[in-house]
C-alpha cells in the first residue's frame, strides 16, 4: 500500500466491460499521468474450449463451434475448418460448391470489415459512420437469411458441400446488392478519410515495422499495412481463388491510418471477386454424394493436416489430427486475432490512453475468436 502511494505510476483496469474493448478484453494499464507505461492484456473471459468440444464430436458436428469463433465472419471460419476436414477425410467438394463458398466467404468478409469500420469509428468518437456501415451489413445479413436461414451463425456449409443450392433469384439479389454497395461504401469512407480529426487521430499512431510484425506472428490487414504482401488467397490458393483476378492491397504507412485504408481497399477487391464469381459460377451438384447426410457421421480420417485460409483478421489455420475413428483426435485453431492481440503491449508503450484505444481498435478484435 505504502509503495503504491509513493509511486508515480497508477494502475488502472480497462474492461472487461468497456465499450472500446470490443467484447471482453481486460487491459491492465500502468499509467504515468495520461501516458501508458505498460499494458497487460488479460483474456479468456469468453473461453469455451471449442478444441476440446470438437474432440468429443463427429467431424460434421464440429462446424457449429467454428461459427461461434469469429461470429461476425462465420462463413470464413467454416471455410477454414472444411479445408482441413476435407483434406483429412479425402472428400473433394464439387466445382459449384467451391464457387458458392468463395461467394459466401467474400460476402462475409465485407460484413466483417463493415462491422470493424463501424466499431472503429465509435472508438474514435464518431457515431455517424456506424449507421452507414451497419445499414450495408444488414443487407448482407438479409441475403444470408434468405440463403441459409440465419443471420450470423449461419451453419451453411457442410463436409463435401453446402446446405442449400443457389438459385437465379439469389444470384440476382446479390448482384443488385453489389450494384449499389460501392457508392454507399465510398460515401461512408469519405466520412473517415476526409475528416481532419480522424486523420490526426490515426496518422503516425501505432507504427509497426514489418520485421517486428513478422516476429510477433501478425497476419492479415495489419501485416499488409506494414508493407508485407502476405495473403493466403494469393500465396497458397485454396478453393478457386487462383482462377479469380484480384489484387492484394498493401500500404507502407505502417500506422493505424494505413490499416484503415488497407481494409477499405480489401472491400473493393472483394466486390471485384464477387462480380467475377457470380458470372463464372458453373452448374452442377451442390454436395458430394460420398458425404450425403446419412453417411456423414461415418466419415473416418487418419493422419494430420494443416490448412490455412484467409479470414478477415488474417491467417486462419486449422491443425487436424485423426486416429481413424469418427471423431477428431486433436484439433487446434490458429486464431489470427489472438496473435494480432499479442502485439498490443509492444505497440501501446509510451502512448496516450486515447491512442491506445485507436491502436486496439485497428487490430480488429473479435473475442469469440481470441478466446475460442
Amino acid at each position: 500500500m505504502e509503495e503504491q502511494l509513493n509511486s508515480r505510476y497508477v494502475e488502472l483496469n480497462m474492461g472487461p466491460q468497456h465499450p472500446s474493448t470490443h467484447g471482453v478484453l481486460r487491459l491492465k494499464l500502468l499509467l504515468d499521468g495520461e501516458t501508458v507505461k505498460n499494458v497487460e492484456p488479460i483474456i479468456g473471459y469468453l473461453h469455451r474450449n471449442a478444441e476440446k468440444i470438437c474432440e468429443l464430436d463427429y467431424y460434421c458436428d464440429s462446424l457449429i463451434y467454428f461459427d461461434r469463433m469469429d461470429y461476425v465472419a462465420a462463413m470464413n471460419m467454416e471455410v477454414g475448418y472444411l479445408e482441413a476436414a476435407e483434406k483429412l477425410l479425402a472428400i473433394e467438394p464439387p466445382e459449384r460448391v467451391k464457387w458458392i463458398r468463395v461467394i459466401m466467404a467474400e460476402l462475409n468478409r465485407l460484413a466483417s470489415h463493415l462491422v470493424w469500420a463501424g466499431a472503429f469509428g465509435l472508438d474514435l468518437g464518431m457515431i455517424t459512420p456506424f449507421f452507414y456501415f451497419f445499414e450495408e451489413r444488414e443487407k448482407i445479413l438479409n441475403l444470408f437469411t434468405e440463403i441459409c436461414g440465419s443471420r450470423q451463425e449461419t451453419n451453411y456449409m457442410s463436409i463435401g458441400g453446402v446446405y442449400q443450392d443457389f438459385n437465379d433469384k439469389i444470384i440476382f439479389k446479390i448482384k443488385q446488392f453489389l450494384k449499389q454497395f460501392p457508392k454507399k461504401m465510398e460515401e461512408a469512407y469519405s466520412l473517415f478519410i476526409k475528416n481532419d480529426i480522424f486523420i490526426s487521430r490515426t496518422k503516425g499512431i501505432g507504427i509497426l515495422e514489418p520485421e517486428v510484425a513478422l516476429s510477433y506472428g501478425v497476419t492479415g490487414p495489419m501485416l499488409r499495412a506494414s508493407g508485407v504482401p502476405y495473403d493466403v488467397r494469393k500465396d497458397a490458393p485454396y478453393l478457386v481463388y487462383d482462377k479469380l483476378n484480384f489484387d492484394i492491397p498493401i500500404s507502407r504507412g505502417k500506422d493505424v491510418l494505413a490499416r484503415c485504408i488497407v481494409r477499405f481497399e480489401e472491400m473493393r477487391q472483394s466486390v471485384k471477386i464477387l462480380n467475377q464469381a457470380l458470372d463464372k459460377i458453373p452448374d452442377g451438384p451442390y454436395f458430394n454424394p460420398k458425404a450425403k447426410k446419412s453417411l456423414m457421421i461415418r466419415l473416418r480420417g487418419e493422419g494430420d493436416v494443416y490448412a490455412r485460409t484467409e479470414s478477415p483478421k488474417g491467417e486462419f489455420g486449422v491443425h487436424l489430427v485423426g486416429d481413424g475413428t469418427v471423431k477428431p483426435y486433436r484439433l487446434h485453431v490458429r486464431s489470427p486475432a489472438f496473435k494480432n492481440l499479442s502485439i498490443l503491449p509492444f505497440l501501446a508503450r509510451d502512448v496516450l490512453i486515447a491512442d491506445m484505444v485507436a491502436i486496439s481498435g485497428s487490430i480488429d478484435l473479435v473475442f469469440g475468436e481470441v478466446d475460442r
Binding site: 516476429s215 497458397a236 494430420d304 490455412r308
Partner: protein, 153 residues
C-alpha cells in the same frame, strides 16, 4: 550439422522435419537464419505416453512457404523458442495452459485463457470432464477457482 533431421512429406504435401527434442533449439536457430522469420503456430498433441509438439514456420521471402517441425517429449518439458520468435510467447503460454507442457526458458510462463489456480490441463486425454470447476473473484480482484458450486457466479 551436429544433429540429425529426418525429413518426410505430410499427407497434404507439406514438408515436415522430425527432430530430437534436445536439438530443437539448435535447429530452430538455424532455420531462423535460413529466413524462416514467421512462426505461425505452435501446437501440441497428447498421445497419452508422450506429447508431440508441432511448429509451423513460414518464410516471408518465398511466398510464406510452409515448413512443419515435429518433436516428441516424454516428460512434458521442452526448450522455449521465445528467444527466436516473439510470437512463441503467447503460443507457448497457451500450450502450457491447455496441455501442461513446460517450456524451459520462457520469460512469463503462466496460464493465459484459464484463470490461475485451475486444476488440470483440459486438452490432455486424461482430463476429468465430469468435475466442474467454478470461478469467482476474491477481495483483491484475483480469480479464485474451486470445486464448490456455491462459490461460482
Amino acid at each position: 550439422m551436429p544433429y540429425e533431421v529426418k525429413e518426410e512429406a505430410g499427407k497434404d504435401g507439406r514438408k515436415i522435419f522430425l527432430i530430437q527434442k534436445e536439438n530443437l533449439l539448435e535447429l530452430m536457430t538455424d532455420l531462423r537464419k535460413q529466413g524462416y522469420d514467421h512462426l505461425s503456430l505452435i501446437t501440441a498433441v497428447d498421445f497419452r505416453d508422450r506429447i508431440e509438439l508441432v511448429y509451423h514456420l513460414q518464410k516471408s521471402a518465398s511466398n510464406f512457404e510452409l515448413l512443419t517441425v515435429r518433436t516428441v517429449t516424454y516428460d512434458s518439458t521442452i526448450d522455449s523458442v521465445t528467444s527466436i520468435w516473439e510470437s512463441a510467447n503467447w503460443d507457448e503460454r497457451e500450450q502450457y495452459d491447455m496441455m501442461g507442457v513446460v517450456f524451459r526458458g520462457h520469460p512469463n510462463l503462466k496460464r493465459i485463457l484459464l484463470p490461475e489456480g485451475w486444476v488440470g490441463y483440459p486438452l490432455r486425454k486424461d482430463y476429468d470432464l465430469s468435475k466442474n470447476q467454478y470461478v469467482n473473484m476474491d477481495d483483491e480482484g484475483n480469480d479464485r477457482v474451486s470445486f464448490d458450486p456455491g462459490d461460482g457466479w
